[in-house]
Amino acid sequence: MHLPFIRGDFLKRREFLTGSSAAAGMFALRSLLRQDRLLASPGSTLPLQNPLAVKPSHFVPRAKNCIFIFLAGGTSQVDLYDPKPELNKRTGQQLPESFTEGNRFSNIKLNESYLMGSPFRFRPRGECGTEISELLPHIGSCADDIALIRTVHHHAFSHGPGELEFCTGKDLPGRASVGAWLTYGLGSECQNLPGYVVLVNDRAPVTRALSWGSGFLPSVHQGVLFRGEGEPLLNLTRPAGVTRNVDRRQLDAISRLNQARYQQVGDPEIMSRIAAYEMAFRMQMAAPDLIDLSQETTAALSAYGIDRPGSPGNFSRNCLLARRLVEQGVRCVTICQRRWDFHEDLFGRISDACQTVDQPIAALLKDLKQRGLLDSTLVVWGTEFGRTALTQNSKPTKKSGRDHHPFAFSLWMAGGGVKGGQVVGRTDEFGWLPVEDPVHLNDFHATMMHLFGLNHEELTFRFKGFDFRLTDIAGKVVRKLVS
């Protein structure tokens, strides 16, 4: 019988108990020992183990932690990452029919839609010379650490299915998110915080908790949503008169009562509940430190742009929190923001949106690098799909927008064993379809798992008679991406 996470706490508990009042410490210790005897009594056959205990990877991992930046709505690769001079030249013309045969669209009527180039300039950045839009000057300055993939593709062209495809590898609800797979595969090295934390800026993805859910995996693997402002979590503060000792004593009783029930009824959800209570206690201890940014230098704070009011400052804070969470050993942090669905007035709105995210994301990459954490932290720029090279049912104007485009769009990875300073894949002259090195999202996910030392075909969970995996029934590691 193993109870590593509770046992680990036992020592800590003893420390603070003896540190408080000698009398309290003594009786509490006695009572704790009594409980331990109780646990060890014959007939107690609990298969109790920490579902988040660290597990070995399949082979030597390059990455230990993941920061999964999910910019929901569909970021426009044409304006940010995939320059198309030919498209710029042919603005206002119609897309040749050969491109659209067999394609599906969300809102577009082809006969009323026209090619629309990007008004934003691209220039080569870093030593590698990767071309990145002027909308992302700071991210551009990290080009040598970034592996930009211009040919990501899948087939889901609505937000819900697209988000699920991007976050869970399948466009249907019920699957587990990338972060959940990571904690399932590797466990968590953090005893005081959840293995998977979610930070939301502005609005959550349309699939909300499904995008960070655990699907068929045990619910202990689902992402835990932190608040965007103030204390990271509600209800962290104990009620008046419930001292830490009192609380701990009650939590022990709750845990033991639940274990007793588990022996009676055998419901695994009880074990999840016990783990959730233990985690809640440890979160209470760790969370105040986590959000105490006073230990950060003013230079660091302003590098992230935390002093910016409103949503931009909040996004900055989330990026900084992500670094702090990773430092604590949290396996996966999702930073999400739903904002990028610009069916009209795209140029103005994407400029604003980029201003919010560009500086803090670049600051995060540089901060991780400076602290020696980038080598072991995989950072992902994510979105559910790109946007069309076409206007949406209008002549191109300054106020035009673009429709959803899952057939070829841009994502990037950095750190965590990724070979930076390169572009993978090439699209046609309109950025419509991949012409070289297409990367399906399943391939993208397979590569992510590979960086964590996990074989995506072996990391499975048996459910309803099938061995489910993140990459559904496909996926090939993109070797070029791995350094």
């Binding site: 669209f105 819900g160 985690m279 809640a280």
Partner: protein, 634 residues
């Protein structure tokens, strides 16, 4: 909770370039879909299966059990033993009322040796006014009920609750499902419609509303509301994900874009009005006539063919009562004897609420993409039984909960976990955490704080500390209620679409922006923090402790008394010992820290009980309220 997406996902449509040009090839596509899809089991006419003959009559309670047992025998699986009587009464009380049984009721049930003890218990529960609160909340999930408008402004709807109370009352008086439906879809069109019947159309008024839309957008949001009403109808009564047909024919199911706009046309013929009542206002609808069109790619500005209000006759014959079909015709269509879906969908929902999972696990999708049922004959039998029972909800529930299948133990059966992890065979009952509202109701009930008053305007319980004032302001939340209003049942808590109460959110409350056909059941540290430290936790713990102190003399009895109140069963020796030790330890802790004890007790009158003891009992109570079993329906 997020089933909309499965709908979108299951029906992306391949659009050939030609079909972008308009609706000219609708018929072609429709017939194609029809060919393959009408073969699907749920679109086939509903016939009453014969009840299988099985041995083991000892176990058989009613026909349901014969269907279940026949399948189990096929699979070589035995049913689970019957749950003990304490579990049964608690299960029944939670399922039917959402409230725990009082220990005295449990005792009476245990001592009732009559063979009809369970039946009499059941009758009492079905007659309780709290039954309407429990089953009303299930319906409000589907009705996307909220006390606010939604969208960015999300203004408060001061009169929405009239519809909520209408639902509770209708369920309590067992307004049969066909009448219940008609009054909500078309109560205003009934001959000599009563005030109450018109209030039922508040169902339609639950659509989101964008008050801040400028004039140019008004039409867009009006059209959106009409589409929401059509889609909601599809989800709730047809169990079909028809929302995708706003833009295109369904890829898998026999439902075309033209069908969708036929339904839309019914709701396009609606105006929102206020009904003046003697004591206020109710939000209702009245009929009007507008020309309806197909919207190309769902864009309301891109009209193509004109569409008359009509329901898809392919599913079941549609009859007009006048030259132009109206919502009353639509409601009657749902209950045509040949309609394949309405009864199946509704019967499945009853099962779902009594087993934690439907016979069809996707109540929002009975279409071609749904998982085939493991007990198709049983579902059809239940559906015909529902119809045979004149659509009485209470009869339906009565039938299900008197089965031996329902009364099985919910203990896990490891030997079945591998082949039937979801318990689709129903070889035991399910054990699951209760819904968000009920989590709160339970604490209030066992502590004796639960407000008696039923119905009325929504209440706003306190928010967790740390929800900054500017957040409250931004979200336009109601001021927290005072007095006993803080302790209302969850169903009466203000439903702010963009900002549901955090405690409810933590426990997966329904998203009021769209019809919710099933709740998620997550299990998180956030929930633990909410139950340990959330607002109101100490109120409940103190009240429960006082209850224990007032009733017990020696500490041993106090533990037992509190335990029975919370869990409807006495503690085992181990549990008794754990809690007695806990009390002793907490008392010692508080004796050396009197100021902490004072903070817990807060100057409450205690009589002879020392402060440290009282504080320790509050700790025991808080522990009981955090027991996993306490918020679990076994």
């Amino acid at each position: 909770m997020f089933l909309l997406f499965s709908s979108i996902a299951t029906c992306w449509v391949l659009l050939s370039v030609q079909s972008l040009q308009g609706g000219s090839n609708d018929t072609q596509l429709a017939s194609k879909a029809e060919e393959s899809a009408l073969d699907h089991w749920s679109f086939k006419p509903l016939t009453r299966p014969s009840v299988p003959r099985v041995e083991n009559e000892q176990w058989l309670g009613n026909a349901i059990d014969a269907f279940i047992l026949a399948k189990l025998k096929n699979e070589g699986v035995r049913p689970a033993p019957q749950a003990d009587r304490r579990t049964l009464i608690r299960r029944l009380c939670l399922d039917l009322l959402g409230l725990p049984p009082d220990p005295s009721r449990v005792q009476a049930f245990l001592e009732d040796g009559q063979p009809d003890a369970y039946a009499r218990l059941l009758d009492r529960l079905l007659a309780s006014p709290h039954f309407g609160e429990r089953w009303g909340r299930h319906w409000l999930d589907l009705a996307r009920y909220a006390d606010s408008d939604g969208y960015e402004d999300d203004r408060h709807r001061p009169n929405a609750w009239r519809y909520r109370d209408w639902v509770i009352d209708a369920i309590n008086r067992d307004l049969v499902f066909n009448r219940f439906t008609i009054e909500q879809l078309a109560g205003d069109l009934l001959p000599a419609a009563s005030e109450q019947q018109r209030i039922g159309t508040g169902f339609l008024r639950n659509s989101l509303l964008n008050e801040s839309a400028n004039d140019a957008d008004n039409e867009e949001f009006r059209v959106k509301a009409a589409k929401d009403r059509a889609s909601t109808m599809g989800t709730v009564w047809l169990g079909l994900t028809i929302a995708c047909c706003e833009c295109h024919d369904h890829k898998y199911d026999p439902f075309t874009q033209r069908d969708y706009y036929g339904l839309y046309a019914f709701f396009n013929d609606v105006d929102d009005v206020d009904l003046k009542l003697p004591d206020g206002i109710a939000r209702v609808v009245q009929a009007t006539q507008r020309e309806s069109h197909l919207h190309i790619r769902g864009n309301f500005l891109q009209r193509s063919d004109k569409v008359e209000p009509h329901a898809p006759g392919r599913l079941s014959v549609f009859r007009k009562s006048g030259p132009r079909a109206d919502r009353l015709d639509l409601a009657h269509w749902l209950f045509e004897p040949t309609h394949p879906l309405t009864a199946r969908v509704a019967a499945n929902r009853h099962w779902q609420h009594l087993f934690g999972r439907g016979l069809i696990a996707t109540p929002e999708d009975f279409g071609v993409q749904s998982e085939p049922p493991r007990h198709p004959q049983l579902l059809d039998w239940l559906a015909t039984e529902f119809r045979k029972g004149q659509w009485s909800r209470k009869k339906m529930i009565h039938m299900i909960v008197t089965s031996a299948t329902y009364r099985q133990s919910s203990h896990h059966r490891p030997e079945l976990a591998k082949n039937d992890p979801e318990n689709e065979l129903v070889a035991r009952q399910n054990r699951f955490r209760v819904e968000a509202e009920i989590v709160g109701d339970l604490s209030l009930a066992v502590s004796g704080l639960l407000q008696d008053r039923m119905g009325g305007p929504p209440r706003q319980p306190p928010f967790p500390a740390g929800l900054a004032v500017d957040v409250l302001k931004r979200e336009k939340l109601l001021e927290p209620s005072r007095g006993s209003d803080r302790h209302c049942r969850g169903i009466y808590v203000n439903v702010q679409r963009t900002f549901p109460h955090p405690m409810l959110t933590a426990f997966d409350v329904a998203d009021a922006n769209q019809a919710c056909t099933r709740r998620e059941r997550s299990n998180t540290p956030i929930q633990a923090l909410s139950l340990l430290n959330g607002p109101g936790v100490m109120d409940c713990a103190s009240a429960l402790a006082l209850r224990m102190l007032n009733n017990g003399q020696v500490s041993k009895d106090l533990v037992r008394y509190g335990f029975e109140f919370c869990l409807s069963r006495p503690p085992s020796r181990l549990e008794q010992q754990l809690l007695t030790d806990l009390f002793n330890d907490l008392r010692q802790l508080y004796e050396i820290n009197p100021s902490a004890a004072d903070q817990v007790v807060g100057g409450a009158a205690l009589g002879q009980t020392p402060v440290a003891q009282y504080a320790a009992w509050v700790g025991v109570a808080r522990t009981l309220l955090n027991h996993e079993e306490f918020i679990t329906r076994e």
